[in-house]
Amino acid sequence: MRKLATTLKTALRALRRNPMRSALTTLGIIIGIAAVISMVQIGEGSSAAIKQTIENMGANTLIVFPGQAVSAGVSFGGGSAVTLTSQDAAAVARDCPSVLAAAPQVNGRMQLVRGSQNWVPQFIAGTSPAYFTIRDWPVVEGRAFNNSDVLGVNQVCDLGQTVVKELFPSGKPIGKTILVQNVPLKVIGVLAKKGANMMGMDQDDILVLPWTTLKFRISAKALQNQNQSTATASTTTTDQLYPETAQSLYPVPSTSEQTDTPQPVSFPNINSILVAVPSTSQIPQAIAEITALLRQRHHLQPGQPDDFNIRNMAEISSALGSTSRMMTNLLTGVALISLLVGGVGIMNIMLVSVTERTREIGLRMAVGAKPRDILSQFILEAIVLCLFGGALGILTGQALSSGVQHLLHWPIELSMPAMIASVAVSAAVGLIFGYYPAWKASRLDPIDALRYE
């Protein structure tokens, strides 16, 4: 123990004797470790950012569609059955523990009119405020509609950027009114730009409004002339608020008249339910919970097929997985190379140092140093340099990554394992790359070493 302490003291003294060389040697390790630390931290941060972005693209969302309707053996295709209701959406959000949020969706494709401009958006989504959370879609101007807008069947809407561009060439859409099937809607918010989706469809070409408004004020209006019995079919609270029940421009048909001429019924169904799951790993669990819940709500007997389909974004999920794997591999590679460079730097300078200090080694041997003493002194010098460099490197790397965090606003994840590993690695680098020069020094013949010029 005392021997180690003396050797350590000797090594430190030898390093202090040539501070410039020691500093330059350390620099290689400082840069190496700093690179590893900042790479790992920035990398983990950006990996998390990428993961989040991909999840925002919909990797952590599920869509529940109704099943197919079959009439006399003729299928009407997936989603043609009328089985999902807004109560289903509310129940999914309420009763499934693995579900973050659920929003009903009612779709439409209609013409929008604003003054002399008109436009048919790609998407018209009648939904609930949860939609903005699930799609992680902030409103940049004005506000998003809220639950009281849904319950009040208010004639409000939020527009995507493309729709704003088409209908309001001069900008400033907030507070203006647009017409959809002659129903006026007040624009209360503008959504952030989102760009095209994976299928190449412009996601900003969208009109978002309370689903009740779309269902009962706009779509229902088209049916109104034929159907006045909608109200009697409605049982929801929102249906009770439905104001059109008051309209009675036509004489009420007698019971016999009604049985003779049955009217099409507007069932308060929805086209799909959009579901958000906290993370992609919980998707299978969420699917199982939703399936069980909906089967129960739809009174399906065991053995009866589901009357709905649940779809997830398997393609995006696998892209997410391979992306984070690739990031990890890339970063490990970069980190290893920079450490290797640092280690070779140490070896190089230690070799130079051995040559330069040949006389010193000869002298030490002449006054009684055994080859083992010389070996341990030089290895210890290398390790001390590496540990010192490692410590400084961690600080530098930390500074670098917080600099990046401040400048680029990347999320940085403090990585304790990376720090511990880099200290261990720097000591190991010192040992491995310091061994050869130290061994070379210990093999010197004291007679030759003393006479070395």
Partner: protein, 251 residues
Amino acid sequence: MNLITVENIVKTYHLGSSDVQVLKGVSMAIQTGEMVALMGASGSGKTTLMNILGCLDRPTSGRYILDGEEISRMSANQRAIVRNTKIGFVFQNFNLLARTSALDNVLLPTTYAENGLSTKDQHKRAKALLDRVGLGDRMHHEPSQLSGGQQQRVAIARSLVNNPRLVLADEPTGNLDSHTSEDVLQSFEKLNREEGITILLVTHDPTVASHAQRIIHIRDGLIEVGAFAAPPATTAVGAGPAPDATTGKKR
């Protein structure tokens, strides 16, 4: 009593396919407390003999006994211990560690000593030695701040720090002017006279050699004169080549 006994030492170097015999059967002895000069022209085998006497090298054949221990069969590690405990080295070019204080330079051999002396005692001894060579006030100076003579005196203090039986000085004045040479040689004489330390001066300079009590001349790998001390009755200070001090001629 003999501190050094050398019997019939041969040293052969293998240079490629040919063997070069540098020492051809050297026998000599140095008594405890003697101050001896080893003289010889370059190529005479003087350096090789000095390396063997300093336990830096091993003879090809023959026996070397230092202070009762047979060195010729020792391993490198054992010889390192002998160098550390029994021999002090003084070199022509001082060989002090640069950017290291005189005190730390003197303490260098103690790093490798296993005599169980505490750090405090070692410091005390090193300071006393620096005082004795007249550098008590320059303990914390670095070699670059010292003159050549002062540097060599630091080296002398260093050679003594582990209490050696033998001080081996290889051309100790080779890098000094004549005035400082005289100073350094007088330090050696003082050490020899007052402490009874055995000193072997290796030199080619007769002026330096004249400070020794006895001069050993080596030539072509054989000792020409002065291999053994004169009988006590006729011991005289100065160079006194004994008439019988010739080596046995082989072949």
